[in-house]
């Protein structure tokens, strides 16, 4: 059941979701993004794609984990989990319990998910686009967005399940290394908050409901749509999706309170954690940069060479290919509304941990000091520019890109100019950007489970 496939290369999932893969589109493939703001204040971004009779919608709100109160870490995540646990009765609409709700989705052949990240709370709908069917999917999604029941008894069960899953996860080396790393990199910043049994115990359904009411309003919605619909259809369906939320004048939609920034590190941290496992887990890093940072392209291209480019990165060459020390070694940035971490990660036999750390640090220090060679820069651009079409060749990937533009307030021609922006980057730009952002002498190093 598990272990049914072994791959040549591990794909560190974080790298895919953040930074590098979040932006896309070639001049050649230029896809017109239609954008408008509804009377409610909801911002809509549409790419029509009529090849397949299906539709994807993503609605993002500024209600991710960064807005969790420290003593109630996990609140946003609890909210996303609970939003599918049943619908409240409304005039003309009967209550549905969690099973009736999931049956209703299954009967439509549609998929509706709610997820919470560090920054965003995201609702995602995938439905076939036949008009009668789509109307039913939209109506059900609108109820789930607008009228979750937040049942108390279900929350008590979910809380127990999450706590048990956390305890289980805390027996795994990767989890423990990650927690030690985030604590040292983020300090008290919400990006570093860890959900525990204690923080979950403090979360009530009233907290969830209040948090939801504060953040999930039509005026705050960023709605991205890709699929077999016209602009007029999209405008109507977005209106319908948000219609069951409390409506108020868009002009009175007040800005949410600012969240503090991640603090830079003043000194290096070296944490060695004893653990019995077949491999030691190594994480090296520091706060990185915000998505709005002008160095974004230089850091994207540079990290391809350092540790992002699959088999061809410096870290893979030195740690895996030349020395056989690891199956997976990588580096990535995770830019968000705040400076998400820069991370180098690897796992190796316990007795090789010190050697692997040494090699990784040497590779990093040299890259930060010198930047890429001309050949490396060319290789990075060949892959990133040449492979642009691969970033937008499905509705699912397009949706990711449109939502990225919407969320980060990027220009509508962002995808059209992406390759040109990338082509402009020089080795000097990369060296300068890396030395601005990374201080190898002040990084966090976590080594869990090292042996003699």
């Amino acid at each position: 059941m598990l272990n049914s496939i072994f791959s040549r290369r591990a794909i560190p999932c974080l790298c895919l979701g953040l930074g590098l893969f979040m932006h896309s589109l070639s001049a050649r493939a230029a896809l017109p993004i239609q954008h408008w703001t509804q009377a409610s204040g909801a911002k809509v971004y549409l790419v029509e794609s009529h090849g397949i009779a299906m539709l994807d919608v993503q609605i993002d709100f500024d209600a991710g984990g960064r807005r969790d109160p420290a003593d109630k870490a996990g609140l946003s995540s609890a909210m996303s989990r609970m939003s599918g646990k049943g619908l409240a009765a409304r005039p003309g609409a009967v209550a549905l319990d969690e099973n009736q709700l999931s049956e209703a989705w299954a009967d439509l052949g549609a998929v509706f998910t709610v997820s919470s990240g560090s920054d965003r709370l995201s609702f995602a709908l995938r439905s076939l686009s036949f008009p009668d069917l789509l109307a039913q999917s939209v109506a059900l999604a609108a109820r789930q967005i607008g009228e979750p029941a937040w049942p108390e008894a279900v929350w008590r069960q979910e809380r127990d399940r999450i706590s048990a899953a956390i305890r289980e996860s805390d027996t795994r080396p990767a989890t423990l290394a990650g927690k030690a790393f985030r604590a040292a990199v983020y300090g008290v910043h919400p990006y570093g908050l860890e959900t525990t049994s204690a923080t979950l115990a403090r979360i009530s359904t009233a907290d969830i409901q209040q948090f939801y009411a504060q953040h999930v309003e039509p005026c705050r919605a960023k709605v991205s749509v890709v699929g077999d619909v016209t602009r007029a259809q999209t405008d109507a369906l977005v209106t319908a999706l948000l219609a069951r939320l409390p409506q108020r004048d868009a002009a009175r939609c007040q800005a949410l309170p600012a969240v503090a920034e991640v603090q830079a590190l003043n000194a290096p941290t070296n944490r060695s954690v004893a653990f019995e496992s077949a491999q030691a887990h190594v994480l090296i890093g520091q706060p990185g940069y915000k998505r709005s940072d002008p160095d974004f392209f230089a850091l994207t291209v540079g990290n391809y060479t350092l540790g992002g480019g699959g088999f061809v990165s410096r870290l893979t060459t030195e740690v895996r290919e030349k020395r056989g020390l690891t199956y997976s070694v990588y580096s990535y940035f995770s830019p968000g509304l705040h400076a998400g971490a820069f991370t180098i990660g690897l796992q190796t036999r316990p007795d090789q941990a010190a050697q692997a750390v040494e090699v990784a640090r040497t590779v990093l220090a040299k890259f930060v000091a010198e930047g890429p060679s001309d050949a490396e820069l060319k290789a990075a651009k060949d892959n990133l520019v040449g492979g642009f079409a691969l970033r937008i060749d499905s509705n699912a990937k397009l949706l990711d890109n449109i939502a990225n533009i919407a969320w980060n307030n990027l220009p509508l021609d962002y995808l059209d100019t992406w390759t040109a922006q990338l082509e402009k980057i020089t080795a000097t730009d990369i060296k300068a950007a890396f030395s601005r952002k990374l201080q190898p002498e002040r990084m966090v190093t976590v080594v869990l489970g090292a042996g003699p």
Binding site: N3, S4, I5, F130, T171, P350, G449, G451
Partner: protein
Amino acid sequence: MFSLFLCPRLAGARLVKKAVALLGAWCLVASGASAQSPAPGMQVQQFTLANGLTLIVKPDRRAPTVAHMLWVRVGSMDEVDGSSGVAHALEHMMFKGTPTLKPGEFSRRIAALGGRDNAFTSRDATAYHQQIPAERLEEVMQLEADRFANTQWDDEEFKREIEVVKEERRLRTEDAPRSQLYEYAYAVAFTAAPYRRPIVGWMSDLDAMTSADLRSFYRQWYVPGNAAVVIAGDVDVAQVRAWAEKYYGRIPAGLIPARKPRTEPAQNGLRQIEHKATASQAYVSLMFKVPQLDVSALKDASTPASAASRDALALTVLAAVLDGYSGARLDRALTQGADRVADSAGAYNGLFGRGPQVFFLDGVPAEGKTPSQVLAALRKQIDRIAREGVSQGELQRVKTQWVAAETYKLDAIFSQARELGSNWLNGYPLNANARVVAQLRTITAQEVQSVAARYFGDEQLTLATLVPQPPDPNRKPRLPAAASRH
């Protein structure tokens, strides 16, 4: 590999849309959708080159990209004792160069073309794949053909790479208690069938593996008649065929080794294992041996499926009724309510494959509950269906989901290529997926009830339990075996 059903529909996207629309979107009746024929030039086509290599091409013009896969019909099931892990280790070495390509150069070239590449090994197959801009396809075909025929490496490369493979085993099996549990469970469930060996290989087999073992396996199995090239995306079929003749066609034909059947003897009684590992939650897995879909079920609508194939299909519907959507029977009965026994529960049926198939049930006990309570609760749900059957509503629901999934799968060309390759691997026709969905839609509530009554006794069961042990922060890290310290 775990996929609930076969390849996506093979018709062009626009036609599928039309086909489904004709069926009134919802009440989908059997075989209607599969009768539609795709637009000229957009059908999936299959060719056999003179040297025996199979070429499968599926045009899809939605985006200027292509998925290129090379499938070899050899996986861990083709290994023998003492050499477990050879197929997978060879897959790693296939990136180490040819007479005209330095080690690692293959991936560098693909990257320079704007592409992404990787490979995987399963029990049944080894596959190499690239996703590339469409205009780079010819160069990729040239590179892959060269690699298929001419891979070579020196022994130093092998010594480094086998250490990488051991790290992969440590990461994915030794430090992953449930994976480790399944490794042992397969070893107990199967006696003669080669599925009993782990894909990655036992550690001592990796320690003892040599370059020569891999070269011999490579020469033996990597022959054109044992391979298929599958291409999906923005391509012209005639052009792709010409390139395939040019690059793959010149590889000499070879003999495909005889395959020994190694048929699993009938199991006549409960097999049971426990595995203790660092964890906080217990875990219980039930593996029932079941029949699989045979190719006769897929040939054409007029050939009736065998009784075994009908059972395999009914077992797949049963798994979906139990666990096909959140709030399905297992969720509802085991994971909800004040006295729930489990934190999670699941069901899955292996519908087809090169080796014997298994129906899985599994569960994680809730706090204060035991694996035997979860075991009893899982079996109670099967018993209940055996006694009472399933409702028409449940049946319709899981069928609706499969039909919708057929359309959603068209969104990604890579998954289309992967599923075409899987069809070829199992000797199924190219439209097997449409046929499977059509067949699944004909499964009745009575058939589901009948398989629930017939396949879930102790006779065919392997029961595996993970017994959690608290982490001991004071214990010293494990030292590697002496053999791996050189």
